[in-house]
Symmetry: C2
Subunit: 151 residues, 2 copies
């Protein structure tokens, strides 16, 4: 089996996973720190999904680290299928969460007085980070899907 | 090439396309009829995307009708790839639009006085219809993706 950059167990995949985790952490921090986010459904949804993305990406990053630096395990189709489906479901959820957050923020910005300018900027940054996390999750999913038939 | 139910040119695909178009039209009607939807970004987004889904689904429904009732054309990989990518992009966009609409509606419901009970129900129905349309678009995309390697 040829080496595909970005598939499970390569250094490109490690970079993607770290990127996902970092963006998800950044999104959580922008959203949670010193803000009462739980009065809006969309923001709670974002926090939940980012809380799922972080352990998932970090677990797979550990697998990649092991594979890159210690020893290359054989790809098992079952595990790869689970990774593809997990990535894909999480990417859909994080897309939904980031779009919800962005639209709610734009509504809050439009109706004066609901959030100060600084607060809304933080919501927007959080949505942008979640969006980047979605993009990286989708890339991981596509790379692994590409690899799946050849396993 | 074996017949795959749901792939381009089968009667199952025709049913999926008609379902997409019907749900998209329903979503548009719930959103637009007698409502000033254009004061909210998320609702304008939904209307735009549903306006893209309807011609796309109807065009492919016509292809399916031709294929089922008149004569079965050979599958061309190029066309099938375009259909898969188009379905997939539209499904992502309609997921984003329906989630945005749903979250904005829940925010409007929470803050009293922004929309009456009846109006908010219509927004919710519109989001639900867009969600169903997303689900059918995704199914079409997956069926055609499944067929793609065997063409």
């Amino acid at each position: 089996m040829e080496e595909l950059p970005g598939a499970l167990g390569t250094s490109a995949s490690l970079a993607l996973r770290l990127g996902q985790a970092i963006f998800a952490v950044a999104s959580l921090l922008f959203m949670c720190l010193d803000i009462e986010f739980y009065s809006y459904t969309a923001f709670c949804f974002l926090v939940t999904i980012m809380g799922l993305v972080i352990p998932w990406s970090l677990t797979l990053a550990v697998v990649d680290v092991f594979s890159v630096f210690v020893k290359r395990p054989a790809h098992q189709p079952g595990i790869l299928t689970i990774v593809v489906i997990g990535d894909w479901v999480l990417s859909l959820l994080s897309l939904a969460a980031s779009c919800s957050t962005a639209s709610v923020t734009s509504l809050l910005l439009a109706s004066e007085g609901f959030c100060g300018n600084k607060l809304c900027t933080r919501y927007q940054l959080s949505a942008a980070m979640a969006f980047l996390s979605w993009f990286l999750l989708l890339s991981s999913s596509l790379f692994n899907l590409w690899l799946l038939p050849s396993v």
